[in-house]
C-alpha cells in the first residue's frame, strides 16, 4: 500500500493510524532480527503518536498526506531524547536534545516515527555491513548487501516496515540502497532540504532525502521536508518551484521532453542485466513521447576524483576529535572507515581548496548540458547488490573495488549538487529476460538514475512518475507481502 492509499484509507476510517503502526511494528518484530534494518525501535512513542494522529483526524484536524503514516529515519538524524549513533561506537550513547530539521518537519506533517535505521558506520561506505549494530541484509537475497550508507532505510522500505524513510546521500548513499533494494530514492538539490541536526560526513556534499516505495510517495515526503531553514547556512532561500507539491496532480506527461542519454562514461563497464533493464526504461520513455538525445557529458572520472578529495578531507575534519585522541578511541571505528579517515588526514589543504575550485569549474561545464536536454538518464549503479563481504566486483572482465564501482555513476552528482532520483527498472535474470551473459545472481533489483538541473526536483519526479505509470518497475519484494 502506498502513502496515498494509506492516507485515503485513514480518512475513510477503513483503517486507523494505530492499526497501521501496529502492523508496521509487527513486521519489524518479524524481520528485524534477520535484516538488521533498525538500530532503535521506538514502539511506545510511535503508538502514542499514532493515537494522537487518529484523535486529530477524528476532530477534523488534518495535517496532510503523511498524517498518521509510519516512517523512520536513518540513525544520523538527531531525535530529541532518542539515541542517535550514526552507526558508530563513538556515538553509542549520544542522546540529542533537539530534533533534526527533517524530523521536526515530518512530525509536524503528522508522520509517526517508528525509530532509527541502521546504516554504514558514520555514513562512510556503501555496504551497511555495520560492525557494531550488525550487517543490514538485502531483502531480495539476505546474502547480499542492501547498499549504503542508508542501507537500513532501503531495506525497511522494501519490506514494508515503514511507508517511507529518511536517508542521507554524500556520494550515492540514498540512490545506491534504493537501487539495490528495488525502491525509490531521491537526492534533492544541495540546499533544498535542511541539513540541520544531521550528523555530518562531508559538509559540502551531504544531501538529505527520502526513500519510498513509489515516486509519488517520495514526492509527498519531499513536500514535507523541503524549504529554507536559517539554521543551515547552505540551505537555499530559493522558493519552492511548485509550492507545497513537487508532483502536482495526475498529469505526468513527458511528451516532448528531451532526455539526455550519455554517450560516454555512464554506460561503460556495466553488468549486462543493468544495461538491458536501463535500455528498456529508455525505450519506455520514447514510447511515452520523450525525445532521447545522445549527449557527451564532461569528464565524470575527473569529477569523481574531485569529489573524493573533498569528501576525504571533510570527513576526516569531522572525525578529527576522535582521531587525535589516542589509539583506544580510533580503534572504535571499523577498519574500513578508519582507513578512509586516515587517508583524509594525508590530503593537503591545498588539494582540498583546489578540488573546490575544480568543482565550480566542472559545475559550469556540466550546466551547459541543460541547453540541449532536460535531464540525463543513466544506470544508478553498474552492478547489482554484491554479496555481503565482497570487496571486488567483476565488470567487463575487470575486477573493481566494490565501493569505487558502486559509487562510480552517482558520486559526481553530489559534487554538482544536482537533484537525482533512482527508480527500480528491472531484476537481474528476471524482467530483463535472464541473459546468459549476466554477472549477477538472479532476482536482484536494478536502478535507473534520472539527473536534473538544480532545483528541478519537480521535473525529475514527473519523469520518474511517468515511467512508473508506463510500467517501468519491479514486483514488490516478497518479504514485504
Amino acid at each position: 500500500m502506498s502513502i496515498s492509499q494509506a492516507a485515503e484509507s485513514l480518512r475513510a476510517r477503513r483503517v486507523s493510524s494505530v492499526e497501521l503502526t501496529t502492523a508496521a511494528l509487527a513486521r519489524i518484530s518479524r524481520h528485524n532480527a534477520a535484516l538488521k534494518a533498525f538500530i532503535t525501535v521506538t514502539s511506545e512513542q510511535a503508538l502514542e503518536q499514532a493515537r494522537q494522529a487518529d484523535s486529530e483526524l477524528a476532530r477534523g484536524q488534518d495535517r496532510g498526506p503523511l498524517h498518521g503514516i509510519p516512517v523512520a529515519v536513518k540513525d544520523l538524524f538527531f531525535t530529541a531524547g532518542v539515541r542517535t549513533t550514526a552507526g558508530s561506537k563513538v556515538y553509542e550513547n549520544f542522546v540529542p536534545r533537539v530534533n533534526a530539521a527533517v524530523v521536526d518537519k515530518l512530525l509536524s506533517a503528522g508522520a509517526v516515527m517508528l525509530g532509527k535505521l541502521n546504516m554504514h558506520e558514520m555514513a562512510y561506505g556503501i555496504t551497511s555491513a555495520n560492525p557494531h549494530f550488525g550487517a543490514v541484509a538485502n531483502p531480495w537475497n539476505a546474502a547480499h548487501s542492501p547498499g549504503g550508507s542508508s542501507g537500513g532505510s532501503g531495506t525497511a522500505v522494501a519490506v514494508d516496515m515503514v511507508y517511507a524513510a529518511m536517508g542521507s546521500d554524500t556520494g550515492g548513499s540514498i540512490r545506491i540502497p534504493a537501487s539495490f533494494c528495488g525502491v525509490v530514492g531521491l537526492k534533492p538539490t544541495y540546499g533544498r532540504v535542511s541539513r540541520y541536526g544531521a550528523l555530518p560526513l562531508g559538509y559540502s556534499l551531504d544531501h538529505m532525502g527520502p526513500i519510498a516505495r513509489t515516486v509519488r510517495d517520495a514526492a509527498l515526503v519531499l513536500n514535507a521536508i523541503a524549504g529554507h531553514d536559517r539554521r543551515d547556512a547552505t540551505c537555499s532561500r530559493r522558493p519552492l518551484v511548485v509550492p507545497g507539491d513537487f508532483l502536482a496532480g495526475a498529469g505526468v506527461s513527458i511528451r516532448g521532453l528531451r532526455i539526455g542519454l550519455p554517450k560516454n562514461f555512464f554506460f561503460e563497464r556495466l553488468d549486462p542485466d543493468v544495461e538491458s533493464s536501463v535500455g528498456g526504461a529508455i525505450a519506455c520513455a520514447e514510447r511515452l513521447g520523450a525525445t532521447v538525445k545522445p549527449v557527451t557529458v564532461p569528464d565524470i572520472a575527473a569529477l569523481n576524483a574531485v569529489a573524493r578529495v573533498i569528501l576525504l578531507a571533510e570527513a576526516s575534519a569531522v572525525a578529527e576529535p576522535f582521531l587525535v585522541d589516542g589509539r583506544d578511541r580510533r580503534d572504535q571505528f571499523g577498519p574500513d572507515v578508519l582507513a578512509l579517515f586516515n587517508q583524509g588526514r594525508l590530503i593537503p589543504a591545498t588539494d582540498y581548496v583546489n578540488a573546490q575550485r575544480l568543482r565550480r569549474k566542472m559545475r559550469q561545464e556540466f550546466n551547459r548540458l541543460w541547453a540541449d536536454v532536460d535531464c540525463l538518464v543513466t544506470p544508478t549503479t553498474p552492478n547489482t547488490a554484491p554479496r555481503i563481504g565482497d570487496t571486488t566486483v567483476r565488470l567487463a572482465g575487470r575486477d573493481e573495488d566494490v565501493r569505487l564501482a558502486t559509487t562510480r555513476l552517482v558520486r559526481g552528482v553530489n559534487a554538482l549538487g544536482l537533484p537525482a532520483i533512482s527508480i527500480p527498472c528491472g531484476l537481474s535474470g528476471g524482467l530483463s529476460g535472464g541473459r546468459s551473459a549476466s554477472l549477477s545472481e538472479p532476482g536482484l533489483p536494478i536502478g535507473l538514475q534520472i539527473i536534473g538541473p538544480a532545483f528541478e526536483e519537480a521535473l525529475i519526479l514527473r519523469i520518474a512518475a511517468a515511467l512508473e505509470d508506463g510500467g517501468v518497475g519491479i514486483p514488490p519484494c516478497s518479504l514485504g507481502l
Binding site: F78, V90, F94, P96, C235, A305, R308, A339, L346
Partner: protein
Amino acid sequence: MKDWRAIAQANGLDLSAPELDRLAPPLDALEEAFRPLVRDLTPAMEPSLTFSVDEDAVSVEEDACNGEEDAQ
C-alpha cells in the same frame, strides 16, 4: 608517487606500518587522477565554497544540543 609514510610522519600522525600499507594504494590512484586536473586551474577560478558574511545560521550545539558530552 608521494611518500605517504614521510608525509604522515611530518604531520605527526600516529599511523602504524600496516595502516600506511593499506592506505597508500588508494591514495596513489587518487593522486594519479587528481594531480593533472590542478594544472588547468587559473588564479581567477575561486573555490566553490566561499565565506558568506551575512549568513545567519546557528550551530546545532548552540541551539540546545548539549548531548555531545554523552558521546564517548
